[in-house]
């Protein structure tokens, strides 16, 4: 299990190992294991420099930009505070909690940096602002223009998506351009979808695999922004046009716009993940999600291509008896042909 590393001080491991609450079960189990395996002269620290863990508990801070663009804005809800009554602020707070729950309970991760970083967010950013983003420090959510988009906190998959951008920054550091940028986008969609499925207790077969359900107003002909199960089918609207995402390398989009089409070509690895998850069945976060998570923590290049990422997932999948399924999924979306696919012994 990938979790508590050797850099965690023993007193904290003992603290975590002693936690009884259900939501800490995975972290506690990992901490107990780390304690029992801990070598006498300290553990094997991760090569990157990490701040010491001082507080492993979930901490959230939601701010209100009051339709301005200064960040973070006025603090409206800190950890443990009662609901504000403002829908966007409370959705952000709850969404951070649901995202943290997936990573903490299933992968034993304590916040995006695995060191208890406070989750920061700002709602009501700008005027009629049609977007949500991760600015390198915090999540930012607009209210939408009311014609095409409503508020961006309305979808849990969006909140999970933005937090995952933070996680990627602290792990693989995938450069936000071209194929590595599309991988960054896809991984944010993957865990955005998994946050939603985890919160709802859905299996891969039960899940919608849609990203951003409820963001469009009723005026728009479309159910969501992206479909991981069927890229290119999320919307088809007179004003917006048709969802342009490809789901296969044959349709890979070469463009200089959108940082090299990062929100378009992400459909290809999205589809590969969907194939892995539905082929394996059950809860997608358990094996498929864990393979993607462990791949992020591995020695992936920040400029990784689809093929390099695919190879890394197959290598991780060897440890989860899922290499054939993962290899097959990448073949199905055209990242490998039958002849270029790495053999089972190469993993």
């Amino acid at each position: 299990m990938e979790t508590i590393r050797g850099i965690v001080p023993p007193y904290l491991l003992r603290h975590i190992a002693g936690l009884e609450e259900d939501r800490f079960a995975t972290a506690a189990e990992a901490a107990r294991r780390a304690l029992s395996e801990r070598p006498v002269h300290g553990g094997h620290a991760h090569p990157s420099v990490r701040p010491p863990v001082v507080d492993a508990e979930l901490r959230r801070k939601v701010h209100d930009a009051e339709n301005g663009t200064d960040l973070p804005g006025r603090l409206v809800r800190g950890e443990g505070d009662p609901a504000t009554g403002d829908v966007a602020a409370d959705e952000a707070y709850d969404g951070f909690g649901a995202t943290d729950a997936l990573f903490r309970q299933q992968y034993g991760r304590t916040s995006m940096d695995d060191a208890g970083l406070t989750l920061l967010g700002t709602v009501h950013y700008g005027v009629a602002y049609d977007n949500a983003f991760w600015d390198g420090t915090q999540m930012v959510f607009g209210d939408g223009d009311g014609e095409i988009f409503g508020r961006f906190t309305a979808s849990l998959s969006v909140i999970g998506h933005e937090l995952t951008h933070g996680l990627i920054e602290y792990t693989a550091g995938l450069v936000y351009r071209d194929q590595s940028g599309a991988l960054n986008e896809s991984i944010a969609d993957v865990f955005g979808a998994l946050v939603e499925q985890h919160a709802a207790g859905q299996t891969a077969d039960e899940a919608s695999w849609l990203i951003g359900v409820g963001l469009f107003t009723d005026e728009v002909e479309g159910e969501a922004l992206r479909s991981m199960a069927a890229p290119g089918t999320a919307y088809d609207d007179d004003v917006l046009g048709k969802d342009p995402q490809p789901g296969h390398m044959d349709d890979f989009v070469e463009t200089t716009q959108d940082n090299g089409g990062v929100h378009l070509n992400s459909g290809i690895p999205n589809k590969a993940f969907h194939l892995v998850a539905t082929e394996l069945g059950g809860h997608a976060w358990e094996v498929a999600g864990r393979i993607w998570y462990e791949t992020l923590l591995g020695d992936l290049s920040p400029r990784a291509t689809f093929e390099q990422f695919a190879q890394a997932t197959v290598a991780v999948a060897e440890n989860h008896d899922a290499a054939d399924v993962v290899r097959g999924a990448w073949q199905a979306v055209g990242v490998w042909t039958n002849s270029t696919s790495p053999s089972s012994s190469s993993g």
């Binding site: 600015d135 986008e185 342009p244 716009q257 940082n259």
Partner: protein, 94 residues
């Protein structure tokens, strides 16, 4: 088209990226000297040759064109004169 009605200045803003990855485009055409005179100071005020900064995940990307000038900017760089120009084009075209 009648030569007299050829636009003297065309300013175009193409916005891509953002969480939704939707492409939006706005454009203004100045067909008279008076109109062009009103737009030129906004165009001239922008640092067209500045090096674009890195974008943050899900930030918008703006492509701004004014006749033969062109710049691609991440959202965080659309500030000051760029913000004035972009907002003016979006407001005029919407």
């Amino acid at each position: 088209m009648d030569e007299l009605h050829q636009p003297l200045l065309v300013v175009r803003v193409i916005r891509t990226g953002g969480f939704a990855g939707l492409r939006r485009q706005w454009e203004v055409e100045a067909t008279s000297e008076d109109e062009a005179q009103a737009w030129w100071p906004l165009v001239e005020a922008c640092p067209w040759d500045a090096t674009p900064a890195d974008n943050h995940p899900d930030g918008f990307v703006y492509e701004v064109q004014a006749n033969d000038r062109e710049a691609t900017l991440p959202e965080r760089q659309v500030d000051g004169p760029w913000r004035e120009l972009v907002d003016a084009v979006v407001d005029s075209a919407s």
